[in-house]
Symmetry: C2
């Protein structure tokens, strides 16, 4: 963990410090904005960008991952706590701290028990669908901040009618500020970037300027708001933020609250972990470094525990800020420590200035940030590649939008698991025949092959387990009933990676059913590990047929007549 400290030099220090300055500038508006998105006071975001970064720097295995409040986790936090307390109340923040603590404990525990693999059950289509739907939900929820109206709801079915209903109460000045901020941020990301590059500015410096656009918006809006007293004209502002470092906090230990937060905390932990690990892995591989998933769990858990005791909110590794950290040249986790120091300085010195900042500007930075997460192309891609994956995306996407983040995520995972089980339960079973002039056997439907009426050769393209064992029984029973001349069945096992106890019993049943009907069962091309396991069962001893090394040997023995150069047929 701390193995980078030994060789830490002046060059590293300079690189890390520079990256930290850039990330700090990016993190200030994001921290404030995501705290508001989660329904918390703005300072919760700043506090969650200090101690968690220190915890991660001490324990994390990625050298460049930047942790803190992120959009999707903040949305999930709001969804989890919304039913327990009113947004803005002290109970609400306490519940958020309890959620961070619970999620932190879960992550640490998962790390110790080496359960990082659990995250693998979130398939890419489910993650894509979930991120896109969350981004749309977040953007929709920010409309109220942008327009200065009130709206309730954790999903589109509730949020949209609520937004439409209160649209007449739109606050003109707020909407103007919101629209201007949106326009500036969109301009900075798009045309401005092209403009600057065309003037000969280096790509790196351009990106840096574009990244600073939200900070500029905040500075300009805050100065205007203070000068023109927008607050008195009904514009919602961030309000007084206590200057100084975060106070120690104890999360609520209400057992009823903890119990009802169990599932949300687990979902937040897994989503946060998946987001962290994917960005960490991508960036590490670029420098031929590695991250250790179970160590990441412990580090993210510690970060959340740190957030829980220092008045923060649930955190995880953020995609865009980590990329910025990496691109800005961060070399070691010291960059994270410097960023934490930068945020601390901001909390100490800048907070009085932020009181006049209109919330609509923060809403605009959120909308622009999350709209880059919306990726509907996954629908087309998965539709073309696999209908099963497409279904998983659709269930996750529509479930999340219509019924909320938790239902959407759980529904998506359940769908992808069910479809995987369904697919493996209906294995591809090909009747194969001999390709003349070779030692190969191929599907009789795809190739011109020779077969014998007395020998049926079947290739099963799947491991045999309980859900598909009966499919093989069905296929063989059908053949038995329809082919009266049949004397031998050869099971070509080259694609069978495992045979479980149910499949073994099925094979025994097949063998005894076949032999009662006067047909012998043989195997061919059984893999080493499968053979090892079969050797531990009585099946091979009771098998009356043979186990052939290759399918060619099986046919040489059982139906040599079809191998003759000029067959009678």
């Amino acid at each position: 963990m701390l193995n980078w400290t030994r060789s830490y030099g002046r060059a590293d220090l300079t690189a890390d410090a520079l990256a930290a300055v850039i990330v700090t500038l990016m993190l200030i508006p994001q921290s404030l904005a995501y705290a508001l998105l989660a329904g918390l006071p703005a300072q919760a975001g700043l506090y969650a960008s200090m101690t968690p970064l220190v915890a991660y720097a001490l324990l994390g295995s990625s050298r460049v991952l930047a942790v803190g409040p992120v959009a999707v986790v903040s949305l999930m936090t709001a969804a989890a706590i919304g039913s327990h307390a009113a947004a803005g109340s002290p109970q609400y923040w306490e519940a958020a701290l309890a959620l961070a603590a619970l999620s932190g404990l879960m992550l640490v525990l998962m790390g110790w028990l080496r359960l990082g693999f659990i995250a693998n059950f979130l398939s890419h289509p489910v993650i894509s669908g979930f991120i896109t739907a969350s981004a749309i939900l977040i953007a929709a929820s920010q409309l109220k901040g942008l327009l200065g109206i009130r709206a309730e709801g954790q999903d589109l079915l509730h949020l949209l009618p609520s937004l439409l209903q209160s649209l007449p109460d739109l606050h003109g000045l707020t909407a103007l500020i919101g629209a201007a901020s949106l326009a500036w941020l969109a301009f900075a990301r798009g045309p401005l970037r092209g403009l600057l590059i065309s003037t000969g500015m280096s790509r790196g410096r351009t990106d840096l300027l574009v990244k600073a656009a939200p900070v500029m918006a905040i500075v300009v809006a805050t100065v205007l708001s203070a000068a023109l007293d927008w607050r008195a004209q009904g514009v919602k502002v961030v309000g007084q933020i206590p200057a100084g470092l975060p106070e120690w906090s104890l999360p609520s230990f209400d057992p009823g609250l903890w119990q009802s937060l169990l599932v949300p905390a687990l979902l937040i932990s897994i989503v946060g972990f998946v987001e962290s690990v994917s960005v960490g892995q991508t960036l590490a591989a670029k420098r031929r470094q590695r991250i250790e998933p179970n160590q990441e769990l412990v580090a993210l858990g510690a970060s959340n525990l740190a957030a829980a005791v220092t008045s923060g909110m649930p955190v995880t590794g953020g995609f865009s800020r980590s990329v910025v950290n990496f691109d800005a040249g961060a070399r070691t986790p010291a960059a994270g420590l410097f960023t934490a120091a930068g945020i601390a300085v901001a909390a100490l010195l800048l907070t009085p200035w932020l009181a006049a900042l209109p919330q609509a500007v923060l809403a605009a930075t959120i909308v622009i940030a999350v709209l880059t997460l919306v990726d509907l192309s996954v629908l087309g891609r998965t539709w073309r590649y696999s209908r099963a994956d497409f279904s998983a995306v659709m269930v996750t996407l529509t479930g999340t939008l219509a019924l909320g983040v938790e239902v959407g995520l759980v529904g998506g995972v359940a769908t992808s698991l069910a479809l995987f089980l369904l697919r493996t339960s209906r294995p591809h079973i090909a009747v194969v025949g001999w390709v003349p002039g070779t030692e190969h056997f191929r599907n009789i439907k795809r190739h011109a092959v020779r077969t014998s009426p007395t020998v049926l050769s079947l290739r099963v393209d799947e491991s045999l387990y309980f859900a598909n064992a009966r499919a093989l029984e069905d296929t063989i029973n059908a053949a038995l009933a329809s082919e009266p001349q049949l004397r031998h069945v050869v099971l070509m096992a080259s694609a069978i990676n495992d045979i479980d106890a149910s499949a073994l019993e099925s094979l025994e049943a097949i063998e005894s059913q076949l032999s009662e009907a006067g047909v012998m069962l043989h195997l061919s091309e059984v893999k080493g590990p499968v053979m090892d396991r079969l050797a531990q069962s009585p099946f091979l001893k009771t098998l009356r047929g043979r186990v052939f090394l290759t399918q060619f040997q099986a046919i040489e023995t059982l139906a040599p007549e079809i191998l003759r150069p000029e067959p009678a047929v």
Copy 2:
């Protein structure tokens, strides 16, 4: 379905009628006993052995399956309804009819939708554990009938303390009758059978006599009970059964009841279907006949619906009675029609005589019948063969015994699915090298092979899907970090039967991570269907490496130096 009627002849008639007589004799005590086991009046069992048999004969695809009340389904019926009404009350029977109706509708629907494959997700270890645990539960529950005591509970945790508590209230004469019946039935199954065979009686006739042992016990006990007026001495008897055919009945249509019976009905449907289909398939294969699982669903559903409207109880195909039917020579479903007629005659003529029958005798026939279902050898077998299968058996067995049939069954299925997912999520990935003198590549840990420091050849022994895609990424990232000379990674895909969208994205990520590190990714031995699918994605176009037909060609191209006869190393 009715295709056997066309060629029906005198020989068939004789064979079917003879089988029907034998099955009827066996079915009378079983019907009464399983009705009492389910907590229903004895006549419910008789009624459930008439119209359901007719429905099955008209619709079923097995020629010899005998439907009616069976032990495990009766236990599940008691467990499902026990919480809704007091056993013996009219509401209880109505709920049982609702359960039969709901289960019947589900089965018919599953048949129409061709969902028979759902039953495949009950693995053999789960079924074994469930049947054994159910048999133990049934035997334990019959102790109260055998001893003439009262006891409550649907699982051992409740049943055992209740039995122990009321043991002092044991009714001496009842216990004597129970013990004598048990002793006679055990003697008939064991020593008597050997004795008769040793006197030169044919095996078939002996079996017939042994099967008639319960009927003899009933006749003797009823005569004694009537003569000595056991009822007046406190022995519980079957009591007055209305003579005659069943009345039409309408199951309760209480929506609350139906909703709470949804899960039990689904479990009963699936367990009953699995029991039916396994015995049907085994018997059909002996005569090179087939059964059609989805047609079986419709037939079993119709049987349950028939039971629901004629004052019956949930039914399914029974193992022992179907085997008896088969062994007795039944040739067509007409045997079922004759059996139904036989039971109708019994209901019309014999019922007045059964009033004095002690319930302890029926309890004894149940205990002897279900103890043959207890098979603990599955524990040893699965332990030796596969720890995953052993765990599934243990969860099902202990769950069913301790927490009841529903928790045990659902827990067992969940465990077996989770363990399957876990296994496929950790695929066997072997680093392979060239076996000198051949075109084969084998695991470097198992064989003496040659490898090149610049080429890493990996064979993945599993289809690539979301849960294991990251495992491959991890393996390749580890190799990338530890082998600085690496220039090529070859993925040998001979055992990969499918690549889903997540795995495809992982491959794309691997390819881009590798190429940023200056390493090329290649594939070899990709199967036809997998190649077809990859061709629909942009992956093959962006892949900078090559797709080799065989692993040998890959090494010939990438590291020909290791193929030289006398290498420098």
